[in-house]
Symmetry: C2
Subunit: 144 residues, 2 copies
């Protein structure tokens, strides 16, 4: 092991943390947070997801997610709904205000994507995405 700067988890975390902190600061004036954005983006991809599903795709702990959604529901961004087929399950749906907020966050997220990847060719960007997916999948070799 050489310098920290050659150590992958370090590079990963450093880049991720910086991106997250800047984004967070940027969207706070809109009353949003990185975590709320993740939920909205996940629902944008597919609406009516169950809490457990959301927790996995957003990488937010279930108990954290419960309270996050509490707040988002209070602000009428989303709406909880019991699954008629299985009353244990909660399905989360975007509400109109949530759709409006998503529409405002989307261009910001896209700007971050562009900024982060400035100077990358489309091919390099795709290679990076692929590598990150492989890396994530590799972590299955360790116990969760």
């Amino acid at each position: 092991m050489g310098p920290l700067d050659a150590y992958l988890p370090y590079l990963l975390n450093r880049a991720g943390a910086r991106l997250a902190a800047a984004f967070e600061k940027d969207v706070r004036p809109l009353g949003a947070s990185l975590q709320a954005w993740r939920v909205l983006a996940a629902l944008r991809e597919r609406d009516g997801r169950r809490m457990g599903d959301l927790s996995e795709t957003t990488a937010i702990e279930v108990s954290t997610l419960t309270r996050l959604v509490d707040g988002m529901e209070r602000r009428r961004l989303v709406k909880r709904q019991r699954d008629p087929a299985d009353a244990r399950v909660v399905l989360l749906h975007v509400a109109p205000a949530g759709r409006r907020l998503t529409a405002r966050l989307l261009p910001i997220a896209e700007r971050y994507e562009r900024t982060a990847l400035a100077g990358f060719t489309p091919r390099e960007a795709e290679t990076l995405r692929q590598a990150l997916r492989r890396l994530y999948a590799n972590m299955d070799r360790l116990p969760r």
Copy 2:
């Protein structure tokens, strides 16, 4: 913007969070943490750093770092020392116990590096590192 899975900050954070969580769990029995490891690794690279320098290279907030170092000093892992040249400055040095802990953490860190990069050619791994450094540097285009 398509699915979350194509969104770079998401991929970055997801991979980083998973790596960090697993590492954290792994080193806790040794009485260490990811943050403590960062400090030790930074001091391994260059001993006697000042707090502000450490804060930057470890990406740990200065106020958090102060308390982290408090604990590490209590456990005799590191030792604070006033800079004789400028008495405002604190220089941090590894202590013998810190060197021993570093020696135990190093193989674990290396295992994580190998696991994360399993199936990558050396060249692919280096490309990924380069891309992460470029990405981090790109964030200078945004206000800190």
